[in-house]
């Protein structure tokens, strides 16, 4: 008997994302909790479904980035509501993998890294975003703490891209380099540069970054 109302709430969650409406998403999340729907199911069968549809539209050149970002924002707002319940849920959240991402020290460029974060999330990765101007030490600490599958390093300036080398060297020193894949990106970087500094992959743009992340995890 509970099947139908549940389906209705899951649809509400999905539609809030498809309508680019973060407030409606948060409201639908509250309703999901009230009706006793498993929060992980609410994410996977409701929110993520919507985000995936927008993601596919974006990939096909039909949706705009701003739509994708707002759709992802709607999902984030709803997850915030669901979070306390998630910890109690028996079900494990399915993800493609965990990505730790940030812009390297001395560089405050945000937007490219944010777009990659959003697209990774839409693709089904769990993303931990450290923000901008992230010291090498912080990357190392966080890798130890959250044990990501991938570390994503962003730099927009030729003067800061050298910091990528620092992070990779620090990971090696700490014996962490073999445990994670490193992907780099940003306007001055290139595939050649990625090879030179010993990164595992390079994203020429946000869409390629997601492809590279998927490929690296599949290969390992």
């Amino acid at each position: 008997m509970l099947v139908f109302p549940m389906k209705e709430v899951l649809n509400k969650l999905m539609n809030a994302v498809l309508n680019y409406d973060p407030e409606a998403a948060a409201k639908a999340a509250e309703e999901a909790l009230q009706k006793g729907i498993d929060p992980v199911e609410a994410i996977e069968e409701g929110l993520a479904k919507g985000v995936r549809i927008v993601g596919e539209r974006f990939g096909a050149g039909e949706a705009f980035l701003t739509e994708l970002v707002i759709a992802a924002e709607a999902m984030k707002q709803a997850i915030k509501v669901l979070e306390p319940a998630i910890l109690k849920s028996a079900r494990e959240k399915k993800t493609l993998g965990k990505v730790l991402i940030g812009t390297v020290e001395g560089d405050i460029h945000d937007i490219g890294k944010n777009i990659v974060s959003t697209l990774l999330m839409v693709a089904g990765f769990e993303v931990i975003d450290l923000g901008v101007d992230v010291p090498t030490k912080k990357f190392v600490e966080k890798v130890k703490e959250v044990k990501p599958d991938i570390v994503g390093l962003s730099a927009l300036m030729t003067t800061t891209m050298a910091k990528m080398v620092d992070v990779i060297e620090a990971l090696k020193r700490e014996g962490l380099r073999e445990k994670v894949k490193v992907i780099i990106g940003g306007a001055p970087t290139s595939k050649k540069w990625a090879e030179e500094i010993g990164a595992d992959g390079h994203g020429g743009d946000a869409i390629e970054a997601v492809e590279v992340a998927k490929k690296l995890l599949k290969a390992s």
Binding site: T66, E67, V69, I70, D110, G204, D205, E208
Partner: protein
């Protein structure tokens, strides 16, 4: 794609008020002293009765200025070009810019073989479907003529294929006799039921080219009068080529064009007072080295804008050539010439601009070019729209909210205003080099061809009712016997 002038912040005039008055005065002088040659006894007689001095031997009429002034007062303002589907009605009120396909080509680049060949009725059907599908095109002019049908009924087949394959207004420029005009009127009337209904909702309009300098074919003129009698809007479209059939100076050729258009206007208003007439011009330089008309030249853009301004000065709707090119194939020259000849009339607020889809100076259809030119037209419209400055567009709240270092991607303001503020490309390739490489290094024409094929596969045009289709076929059958004699 109707472009409302109230949204137009970027505009210009190529002629000042004083320039317009000078051109008008010169035109009156030409009509009074040099006159127009019209090769129709019937027309000359009417003109003589109404006050023109007529030399029947030279077939020339001299127009007293009052005939022109009265005609300008009488002619119908705010002309509506109706469409099979009323949502596509075009209102020529001087406050909107509309795009019509170019017409009357004789060659087509085959979509499958890529070879240039003689154009067919099938090409008309296909280009009409594409024009029906894309929002940039407001009016369909049979882009080529059905060279696979005998000349005496060819243009009836052109019209049949057009009416059947677009729900938009159909205009044409092919009528060679009043008899032929009658058949065309009958065909359009068949769709609505009768000619009375057609008068109320003219689904067709007819363009008549004058013959520079200062001549008008008698049959074409009599056909125009036939249309006027039936309430069908007509356009008089001069095409003096500066240097050859018009003075080399653009102002001089504008005078020649103006005299031809106003002379023909005067005659229609004598026969059918109040008949809807549209002011036309396609004044492109004569290229002294190749002896070709330079349809994609900057002069064409300038005279197009000037003609639109003259029409506005007279309170008449206008149609000019624009988005024209002499390039033989789609490519670099086509793009810059079409831009150069297309943007001036838009900035001047011309009513209808004809040129999209054809190459080699309006003679050759490339289906891909329809979409490429539509993209160019959209870019021009975006520039003409300019930059709106108000509380919403200044976005002060949002700037405060986002603050230093944030971004505007997640803001509702971005989503709500994106389509209004940004030109959204449909063909233009803005991908990364790598993405382009991976996709097979596709050029613009290839991308356009894929879109053309997708449209032809997917787009549905409401078919004409079976009975109407049959009636139209019967009209053509009757015309086959009747018109053959005049050839």
């Amino acid at each position: 794609m109707v472009f409302p002038r109230e949204n137009q912040r970027v505009n210009f005039s190529v002629l000042s008020r004083e320039d317009l008055e000078k051109i008008h005065k010169a035109t009156i002088d030409v009509l009074e002293a040099a006159g127009l040659k019209i090769t129709s006894q019937k027309c000359l007689k009417i003109l003589e009765e109404k006050g023109c001095k007529v030399d029947y031997k030279r077939q020339v009429a001299l127009f007293p200025s009052y005939l022109v002034e009265e005609a300008l007062k009488k002619t119908g303002k705010n002309i509506t070009l109706c469409a099979r589907n009323p949502k596509y009605d075009v209102i020529l009120d001087g406050n909107h810019v509309y795009i019509t396909t170019d017409g009357n080509g004789t060659q087509t680049f085959d979509l499958e073989t890529g070879e240039r060949r003689s154009s067919t009725k099938e090409d008309i059907a296909k280009s009409a479907i594409i024009s029906d599908a894309i929002d940039v095109v407001d009016i369909y002019w049979p882009m080529v003529s059905a060279q696979d049908y005998p000349a005496h009924v060819r243009h009836l087949h052109d019209l049949e294929a057009s009416l059947a394959n677009t729900e938009k207004h159909v205009t044409f420029e092919t009528t060679m006799s009043p008899k032929e005009a009658r058949y065309q009127i009958e065909m359009a009337a068949a769709i609505l039921g009768d000619e009375k209904k057609l008068r109320k909702r003219p689904l067709i309009s007819s363009l008549h080219c004058t013959s520079a300098p200062l001549q008008m074919d008698g049959n074409s003129m009599e056909a125009a009068l036939e249309f006027s009698k039936a309430g069908i809007p007509v356009m008089f479209f001069g095409m003096p080529q500066p240097g050859a059939t018009g003075p080399v100076t653009l102002a001089g050729s504008l005078v020649v064009n103006n005299a031809e258009v106003l002379g023909c206007l005067a005659l229609t208003q004598l026969v059918c007072p109040g008949a809807p007439v549209i002011y036309g011009a396609g004044i492109a330089a004569f290229d002294m080295k190749t002896l070709k008309r330079a349809g994609g030249g900057p002069e064409h853009g300038l005279t197009g804008a000037a003609a639109a301004e003259l029409a506005r000065y007279y309170g008449m709707p206008s149609i000019v050539g624009g988005f024209v090119s002499t390039a033989k194939t789609p490519g670099a020259q086509a793009c810059y010439e079409k831009f150069a000849s297309g943007f001036p009339p838009v900035f001047s607020g011309c009513g209808m601009i004809a040129g999209i889809g054809l190459l080699d100076d309006c003679t050759t259809l490339a289906f891909e070019e329809i979409l490429i030119d539509a993209e160019i037209a959209k870019i021009v419209f975006r520039i003409a729209q300019g930059i709106e400055v108000n509380d919403n567009t200044l976005a002060l709240d949002i700037i405060h909210k986002v603050g230093p270092g944030g971004n505007f991607l997640a803001e509702r303001h971005t989503l709500a205003n994106l389509r209004k503020e940004h030109f959204i490309p449909e063909l233009t390739d803005r991908r990364s080099f790598e993405a382009w490489l991976k996709d097979g290094r596709k050029d613009l024409v290839t991308i356009a061809r894929e879109k053309v094929k997708a449209i032809l596969q997917k787009h549905q045009v409401q078919p004409l009712e079976k009975g109407v289709q049959k009636e139209i076929k019967n009209i053509i059958k009757r015309a086959e016997k009747d018109l053959v004699a005049s050839y």
